[in-house]
């Protein structure tokens, strides 16, 4: 039998632990496939996503149209994989935006008592405002474009993350090991990054996967109102929105982009859960 190597805390052992997790691997696989389809769409798509074919309107899935066609006879498969490019980009960018600002705000509010009240009130005020209305106002002010949509949705989801981070920070700040760290002279910024932020990884990951899904759907809402990207460019959200009118005759129009959203969110959650477990030594099964 091969000698068991001594336990070391290294990147390699982290990767090897990652590989042994079934959920993580399945999640990663789905994510890679979805992303690859989106990125390689021009090579894979059998038709141009905007090619109209009046004779082939609302055709069910078949050999030539794998996912059927929409009300203008456009190929739903081609549109679905092309749509992935923008949908995934919007989801990822909004999560990144919300994570950067939400985590910073939440940490600062939770850690510095003097700043807590002003930040917490601003967060509450933003949460009290109806999401879509705020987005409409922002897009109206900034002019519709992809960047505007990302910024507007990012601003909407920032308080959600900030609230969770603030609440958890308030709890962790009072834990004995944080006080012990202070008593041994660890500077505040280090306590925040090493001791507090590291403990927030799982709530942030979980909330991040939710925001990813919400952002893709909210983008659809904005596009539906004509405030998002131009209607010629397909996204999963706009496809579902458009397909809604035909759901009785052509359910494939909503079904396939819907499946695409479900698959990407599900895979993200699987990966997120796996990462969370691996980052928490108490949940590791190999110890």
């Amino acid at each position: 039998m091969a000698a068991v190597s001594a336990p070391t805390v290294s990147e390699a052992s982290f990767v090897s632990r990652l590989v042994t997790r079934k959920t993580v691997m399945v999640g990663l696989l789905i994510l890679v496939v979805v992303a690859a389809l989106a990125i390689l769409a021009p090579l894979i798509a059998p038709y141009s996503p905007s090619r109209l074919s009046v004779v082939n309107r609302l055709k069910p899935p078949s050999g030539s149209y794998w996912f059927g066609t929409d009300e203008f006879g456009r190929d739903v498969f081609s549109r679905t994989i092309y749509a992935g490019r923008l949908s995934l980009l919007v989801g990822a960018s909004v999560v990144a935006f919300a994570a950067i600002f939400g985590v910073t705000l939440g940490l600062v509010a939770g850690f510095f008592r003097r700043l807590d009240t002003p930040i917490a009130r601003i967060i509450d005020a933003m949460m009290a405002f109806p999401d879509i209305l705020l987005a409409i106002a922002l897009v109206a002010a900034l002019g519709p474009s992809l960047v505007t949509v990302i910024v507007a949705l990012g601003i909407i989801y920032t308080p959600r993350l900030a609230r969770i981070v603030r609440a958890s920070t308030l709890v962790i700040r009072e834990l004995p090991y944080v006080e012990a760290a202070r008593a041994l002279g660890v500077p505040t910024w280090r306590i925040m990054s090493r001791h507090v932020l590291r403990n927030l990884v799982s709530p942030i990951l979980v909330q991040g996967t939710f925001i990813f899904a919400y952002a893709m759907l909210a983008e659809a809402g904005l596009s539906f109102l004509g405030l998002g990207v131009s209607p010629e460019v397909p996204t999963w959200g706009t496809m579902i929105a458009a397909g809604r009118q035909y759901i009785g005759q052509a359910d494939w129009m909503t079904l396939f982009p819907g499946i695409a959203i479900i698959l990407s969110v599900l895979s993200l959650q699987m990966v997120g859960d796996g990462f969370r477990d691996l980052l928490d030594p108490r949940l590791r099964k190999d110890l």
Binding site: P7, T8, V9, R113, L175, P176, Y177, E179, A180, A181, R182, A183, L184, G185, V186, P187, R190, R194, H195, R198, N199, L279, D280, P281, R282, L287
Partner: protein, 337 residues
Amino acid sequence: MTELPDHIVLKVSDLRTHFELGSRVAKSVDGVSFDVRRGETVAVVGESGSGKSVASLSIMRLLSSPGRIVGGSILYRTSQGQVIDIATLPERKMRAIRGREIAMIFQEPMTSLNPLYTVGDQIVEMIRLHEPLSMAEARQRAMKMLELVEIPAADRRLDEYPHQMSGGMRQRVMIALALSCNPNLLIADEPTTALDVTIQAQILDLLRRLQREIGMSILFITHNLGVVAEIAHDVVVMYTGRVVEKSPVASLFEHQKHPYTRGLLACIPNALRDRDETGGRLRLNPIPGNVPPVTALPPGCSFAPRCSYRIPLCDEAPPLMTAGPSHLSRCWRHEAL
């Protein structure tokens, strides 16, 4: 430049730490003075609410608002021989004191370590924070620290997480962490309270041995007079934020000059002592009543309502009086005790 005799590491004088709660003021520490000599251990004893923990947090300047040092001084001699007043030191300079000069360990060994990092990581962090060492050097030092606190298989233990260790092990790790930067003074806030009696004895042994070897001073906060007898040179007994009795340890156990100290001792169960003439078990004698809240202290001696030696004079607040050679008591009747 403030003066401090050479053999004294820490001199707390008339320390007053108050919590301002709206219009009420909780005088958690109200005029406490004591000295910690080089290489010796001072035990601060008292019940919950006596102000002993607030006093130790004041020395570390780790009070959370609205707690504030409102008076007195905390003179400390740094390892460079400089004398500083911690009570008025700017926070920026205080950070260099914590860990490097004065380190602190806490009651909860189960939660005083971050569960997400190996104990090695945590000790290495502490060492590298205070000293410019490479990763490898710091790890080497961390291993030496674990050996110093008598953790077997130190090199393997370095890569373990706190949850893989027992309470006694974790308290050893905490001590290793606290000592990794060679502090002059270790403040131990009830470090053995959460541990089994056998483990308690081991930890006390360890602290005594480390004190002998390193020559550091220890400020030991506890409510357990049994532990005091084991480890302390001097004892400071606190009640409602004030010192009620102060004495070398032998003198204190020989004759207590304050009814409160006497009461605390009577609360320690002793299977051999607590028998009547026929060998039947006697009941323990707890001190009647509770510690009054520091926001509502009785006028006069704050212990009077619970005291069986009470006389009319006790309506007047007693000062700290000399009751023997370096033995102080805040009781009008210390001579009668």
